[in-house]
Symmetry: C2
Subunit: 130 residues, 2 copies
């Protein structure tokens, strides 16, 4: 797991305590929504502005440091970008689980166009909730 400091140092972005806290909180939680992120960060930075969180999330996303996840019935969640993988989303607790996608599973789409990116979501009820 890369440390937050380096993620920023390898980008044109400045290293600020707010950004470090944002990244560390995301790393600790895996997948997190803006609201939960904000709530967590407020504990350490009571004066941080929600707008700052929004701005940074988008800046970090633009830099390719974060990845946005779009659950069907919840607000976007964010994670530190790593190897491409799929997401299993529990319909009960909303928790998001990673899973590996076998490369052999790539649908043959050459007849449509070249593919840059992909997102795979599966929905169901996780073991904890069953």
């Amino acid at each position: 797991m890369k440390n937050s400091q380096n993620l920023l140092k390898n980008s044109p972005l400045k290293v600020t305590p707010q950004r470090l806290e944002i990244l560390q909180t995301i790393q600790k939680n895996g997948h997190i929504s803006i609201d939960d992120l904000y709530a967590h960060i407020k504990e350490k930075f009571p004066s941080i502005s929600l707008a700052t969180v929004y701005k940074n999330i988008h800046t970090l996303k633009d830099e390719g440091i974060l990845l946005e996840i779009h659950p069907q019935d919840a607000k976007s969640h964010f994670e530190i970008k790593k190897e491409p993988h799929g997401h299993f989303i529990c319909k009960k607790c909303g928790k998001i689980y990673d899973f590996e996608i076998k490369t052999s599973c790539n649908p043959n789409l050459s007849e449509i166009s070249e593919i840059d990116e992909s997102e795979v979501y599966l929905y169901g009820v996780c073991k904890e909730c069953q």
Copy 2:
């Protein structure tokens, strides 16, 4: 292609001109955002309220008649629900294309939990935009 009237008749929902127009517009366009939908419908129903469109879209989705599509960098689009399939989304023009997903491509996830639903998105530039 099922006609809009029957889609409604096979549900507890009442058949109204606004709903028919919403469904027909979606069928004509394949995948459409609320805003575009509203713009189209306004031509035939100048007095329709945006709230009515929102309300119906959600009602129809709850009835399983519509399906919501979540593109990375655009607002949700909606389509008439049919066989499960994947979506290729053009990063340039935003157009959404359907594609077939081979059943052999299902990732083995029995170790995580049972799967109810899935969403697959691919991103790139479509042929028209190349």
